[in-house]
Point group: D2
Chain length 424, copies 4
């Protein structure tokens, strides 16, 4: 389904007076408001194809109905999000869940919906029907060369799909690791993984990037072969200039200072991209900004500072993607909330008075540094984000339009209550 533009406009009309008042108030305190709005307009977050269905836990899955049944319907769903928030203009595919039957048709459909193809994702953590070798004991780390080769071949195939679609990056997340002491020779597992990544890297087009994602635990519960930023960095460094580390917010040990990791990787020129979500205990895959929005702001503060220091374009310098799994919320509503939380954190970070902060740091004036950061954070930037959306043709309040248009009900009607999307 699609939401007609006039419906968005109608909904905006009802809220425009209140918005203007709020925007007027907050924008008075912003010196470079036009520049900021432009940055907010430019900033797009890719939606993973697997986030459109209801996620699950190992204890079960409670499907919500109306899930997309194929790639075309996934593109349609993201198109709908993008029509509302004008900030979700990219889709990140997962192979084999999203193998297109006809590249040209899919590309045309994406273009119609204003979407480009973000990073491609491979899958060597599950066995597919008919697959020759099992990944039960890992993929690139595997003791058996044949299994490693199968995983390498799969990744190269994913690159090939991506080339056809116009993607320019590959995200490699490996579930490889061990669940019991003694299971793995850590050194050999590392070496095998490195060699596999090198094979895949060779197949990477010159203009592509390769993102090496790390994760502290799950689905392996003793060790992970790409377990922290240090390991990912080690691989990326040995691979070459096109290899980068990818940070998923939920993939750390308790209490990790993620913003510092971000700053260090940016400083070393090896930060590649982001998987946004939120969590309290592990890789909980909750809505972005739902548990610790201040941390999200602090991360964006490092991103803005670090990218500016390197002269990087905020919108295109890194890969921005949501990676969440919506177990009990309507996935589309959840994505609207997630994108909104990201834009708010980005806007707050743009508000930080960098010069004053640098001065406070130079003076060891910790109290003032905190005042500066929290002054930006406590500012209600929602009207700024809404204004940027409005100027891009989106909805002042995407969620409100989504609900008043009864999108989910219509999707259920057309796709059925029991439609189940591929994904976790």
């Amino acid at each position: 389904m699609q939401i007609e533009k006039y419906k968005i406009a109608d909904n905006n009309d009802k809220q425009i007076a209140a918005h203007k008042r709020a925007f007027g108030f907050v924008s008075e305190g912003v010196s470079n408001v036009e520049e900021m709005l432009q940055k907010l307009k430019d900033f797009q977050v890719a939606i993973p194809s697997w986030a459109l269905g209801t996620g699950g836990t190992r204890f079960g899955r409670f499907s919500g109905g109306g899930e997309p049944r194929n790639l075309e319907e996934k593109i349609e769903d993201i198109g709908l999000l993008h029509a509302l928030n004008q900030s979700s203009g990219a889709i990140s595919l997962h192979i084999p869940w999203d193998i297109p039957e006809n590249y040209a048709n899919i590309k045309a459909l994406a273009a119609q919906n204003g979407l480009r193809f973000d990073a491609m994702n491979s899958n060597t953590f599950q066995d597919q029907p008919g697959q020759e070798h099992s990944y039960k004991f890992g993929s690139l780390q595997h003791v058996d060369k044949a299994v490693r080769q199968q995983a390498i071949d799969h990744n190269i195939e994913v690159i090939r799909h991506g080339i056809e679609l116009g993607s320019d990056s590959l995200t490699v997340w490996l579930a490889d690791g061990s669940s019991f002491p003694g299971q793995l020779n850590f050194r050999k597992a590392h070496q095998h993984t490195l060699e596999g990544l090198q094979e895949i890297y060779k197949a990477l087009p010159d203009n592509w990037k390769m993102f090496v994602e790390y994760k502290a635990f799950e689905p392996n519960f003793y060790s992970m072969t790409v377990g922290d930023w240090g390991q990912s960095f080690l691989y990326a460094n040995k691979l070459g200039d096109k290899a980068y580390t990818l940070v998923d917010l939920g993939h750390h040990l308790p209490n990790a200072n993620i913003e510092q990791i971000v700053a260090l990787l940016l400083g070393e020129g090896k930060l590649g991209g982001f998987h946004f979500n939120d969590s309290k205990y592990g890789d909980d895959d909750l809505t972005v900004g739902s548990i610790n929005p201040y941390q999200l702001f602090l991360i964006f503060n490092e991103l803005v500072e670090g990218m500016d220091a390197r002269g990087m374009n905020h919108a295109t310098g890194l890969g921005w993607m949501i990676d969440a799994s919506h177990n009990i919320k309507d996935p589309l509503e959840d994505l609207l909330q997630s994108v909104e939380a990201i834009k708010i954190a980005y806007a707050q970070a743009l508000l930080v008075d960098t010069k004053a902060l640098q001065q406070a740091q130079a003076d060891n004036d910790i109290v003032k540094a905190q005042e500066i950061l929290q002054g930006a954070y406590r500012t209600d930037v929602r009207p700024l984000v809404a204004e940027a959306r409005l100027r891009s043709g989106g909805a002042l309040n995407p969620l409100s339009v989504y609900r008043s248009e009864k999108v989910r009900e219509q999707l259920i009607k057309s796709r059925g209550q029991k439609a189940v999307s591929t994904g976790l």
Copy 2:
């Protein structure tokens, strides 16, 4: 399949000389060796019916083949374990996965295998086909009375099955909780849960116990409505004398001192039972003793001390059960390792010189207290455990018999490679 007794005896014969030598050495240092062996013989650990199949994570499941396809085959599997180790003489059923078609037949089959029926387990964390109300938003905590009533009725039905089979306890594990701030009114969720438990408690026969299990997180990732021992204790206290707290080793926040919790609950007369497993990050459900065997020993040390202080029978005073999920090991091998780890920890705890420890504590002699504990822990008690098993008619080395008899291969042959057991 069954393992003929003579095969166990044959295998034992090959190892008996080495065993005698080792047993002779270690038993010399044990003053009350006969008493200890008797305790080891009496100590039985229940096997949950769902541990016989390959477990999974939300990222996938790698089945191992030959899994039991029905309750009869589950009993057969546990019977096989028990024949080998003489320490797995009970089965813990899960409803609706294990509803017997004919109680008398099932009871006869269990008796044939030397098994009794341990605690019954209800399931209100998944929706079953045809179920009227969904547990997507909880069961006993639910805002809708009809859902709560459905969950109450289910638990009462589980009790009824248990009565027929000769069980005498009900374990209630609730996945209830919330994944997002604001989702729940904590107080009302607590109140609803209490009321539901009270209804179930009313249906409990006089000679039954009710175990209220707690868990810190998963599958809900913001709050759990029975989230820690304090909450479980609160419920159990309000319910009455037949209600107890059940401790699952994997259900705590990082760094929790589980042995202290055990000691406190025992001291208050409210410890009901145990779910054994091991873990590094969360509810990883790994083999008992595979990650932190010293912690397991410290827990048993508190159990032995606390039960002795209350004059409780070690074997029957509490409910002992394994609750693990074997993703990458052969489930039966894993259970053999788990039971062995439990018996070893129990034997080490029995070795602790209680009087000397109490004296060291009275003297604040921390160094000596540690020497006493570690003196027991560092003793190689495997020959003691093996001797107890031998005297009970089991195998000196159960795993070795399991492998030499090619049990898994035979199970796959008879049940098929793709047999998938009910469970997670």
Copy 3:
């Protein structure tokens, strides 16, 4: 030193126009703004006497100069804070660090500064010069009755001081615990502690409250004898109606859901008070709201909801206190930031549309529940807090007055660079 009222007024004058504009904007969205301002005016946070000096870690202490050298100067410092923010109208004393020489004089001085005496704090975690028995191995838990009696007597003495000063509560924080397995018999330690608390409880005046504080770890690193809310609750329940649990935000295991604990304790009528601070790893004692301000808001959301449900007065129903340790910030600046963070979180919680939230919860509308909470949280409530302060005679921006008046420089001048306050 004191800050003359006209200086505050002068500073306010400079900011009043901007404030009025901001207050006008935000207050338009608040239905019951006068009621809210009154609540904000009434809400006072006690300052602990030990937070006025520079805190330290075991690795060292970097004193900042001008610290109060005696109780009189501590009262003066808090008076100064209160003059600025009109929200710090109470002091919490620590015995033996703050034993008054003359009660009447101290009471008069406090009254002059607009301060009342909040909870009294005992100290059985350090040995004082000339003390007969050592607390090296604990106080109320100690195996030696004489040590326990000494700790009991000390607490009773603290109550006596409090009575003289007009305090009406005692906070008992015990460092008791163990650092090594085997060191303690957990059950006996619990029993001794309970008996000691009962002795102290007997000495408590009828109108007093006793707060039993818990802590997960430090300075003991294996077990703590009042280690979590469950243990504190157990003690408080056995003690009687005047005994309550006190929650210190930094005293939990990683990832604990503190807001749920708060809600449960409130629901059971056993929440007594709060020690505010913030932390990332352990009891880091950082500025309130400096690490996770959303968590602080969620806690206040439970407090407001729970207190309203029981008809409790927000200002007087619970004990509110800061407990931080300012290692590298000017302690007074840090306290100004901490109190401000608390008031902001409280104001945000007051903004929550309770009815709408309850409806969303009744509908299992998790997305809306989050929108409601975050709608309140994202509102910039600083003008509301400032307006309340203004109406109470305080500064629109306390920190700015503090700095422009060069308070620290003056304190150093009058007290010296090397003045070191009692405390950690």
Copy 4:
């Protein structure tokens, strides 16, 4: 004081019969027992000079009496330990706590006691009396070049002391970091630290090693500038071939897999040394092996495997040191227990059947891999460790000699009850 050799011999005599029996039993199962005993004899653990006094927490310090009052007495204490266990033949000094007055005398004294000088430790986490610049806001990371230079100079001075004494390594542990968001520019702090380390590295003699120690938190509670192995590795890599990472067991986030880190660093040729201790919550600095002895064994298993793979000498290939802080135990007793725990873990690791383990790994036979590891771990290797000690001229049971000789009582008599050693 010294323990006469005959007293050790007398004590050994009383235990020799039991020992022979136990050694006979366990050594029968060891194929290469002589080789193993030689390795155990060669393996020496350095004792840090600050571990000889009672440690403290920020809440206080409970001194035990008889602490060494100067470097000479520290050497005497370690000499005493070494006489007993023949495994503590090195001392690690801390500057400025241990600046020798006369190098030749100190060297002679050490030689007399059979000790060599292990890694030198610098201190830029505290301000010393008369120091020009404060380290309140860091040392090598500091925004002020003068402070950085002071820290560089101090480290170079430490190297100079080390050269005089015959040490050949420098351990740099930096407390640098931040306690509040915004306090630091992470990138600049990293850059400053790197530059400082480079200056120090330049002053390093050719035959020296430089150990860059990392720590996750404390005494800074938001970020640490050398916070994890990845950061340390980054520095060490940029510094050059003489720079290595040093692993302290207590310096990690919760649940970190330290053994994997060890294996990776060894594989990259960048593991330099170890600080042994144990902990449950943070840098608790408890007795080695007192909390999680299995983890210690797993670490040694990686060390043995990884060093053998690189042909490194176990005894000399890495720097082995205890770094603990004995708050409530007699420091010397604690060190005896710590060294014993290390030797036991080392002996268990030597027992691992490497070939069988590699085969099990090649077969993905996880169950067998666990059996092999736990088979070695569960073996009671204490007689092997004792035999090695006996052959080196040490005590069969060092702690028993220490107690029967009433060492602490004598130290108190000669040094006084209130002697307080330099340290934390």
